[in-house]
Amino acid sequence: MSEPFRRTPEGIALDLPETLRTWLADQAKEAAADAVRVDGPVHRRLLGPINPADDHDDPVSELQRQFEVEGSLGVLIATAHTDLLSDEEAEDWIRAFQLMLAATAARLSILSDDDVAGLDEEAATTVTTFQAGISLMIDALDG
């Protein structure tokens, strides 16, 4: 298989199987949905207060953060089946990979290296897929 993300004069070319594109879009939709479930672990991880002394951020800051989370995940969902990303869209993919990774860690209560080592095969594959996506996209963008 060729490089999944490759720098071209027009932007970042994507070479991913359709099944992986669909899976990524589904994961992004799930992370976006979980992020706004206020009593859930994903919400606490992605949108918890920036000042631990407060129960929650001020409403403007809360909205801004929710907008950013939904924005990056939304870009991945909207461009999951395209062949070419702009640099800005590729940066959103990095953010989206990170958000999906953090959402997965929150759902699985991954708090330590031991927790990572103890993951079952499917969960471990999910984590390493997101990590590989981040690493490969950074290489394509900055390399």
């Binding site: 000042n51 800051s61 990095i94 990170q98 958000l99 708090l111 984590v127 690493s135 950074i138």
Partner: protein, 95 residues
């Protein structure tokens, strides 16, 4: 105001609190890649590679590190930007 101590913050106290520096604290998490954290610190704070790597290894080894200090509004903005990359960051008054 008559200068009587009411037990609440005076205007001066409030101004001092607003002017006091705040820290941006970055917390370790077991799934974020070191290379990603270094890149984000360089991108957001314009740190050179050595500074970004030193701070990232402090986070990794010590569980947390203060990655920036300054006025509260800017600290909040940096913290929100770190959260945009799903990095666990908080703000706190500087010690």
């Amino acid at each position: 105001m008559d200068g009587t101590d009411t037990g609440q913050f005076s205007d001066t106290d409030t101004l001092q609190r607003l002017d006091s520096p705040w820290d941006v604290v970055l917390w370790n998490d077991p799934v974020s890649l070191i290379s990603l954290v270094v890149r984000v610190l360089r991108k957001l704070f314009s740190y050179d590679l050595a500074t970004a790597e030193r701070l990232t290894m402090s986070v990794h080894n010590d569980g947390k590190a203060i990655v920036w200090s300054g006025e509260k509004e800017k600290a909040s903005a940096y913290c929100v930007a770190l959260h945009g990359y799903a990095l666990a960051a908080t703000i706190q008054p500087s010690a």
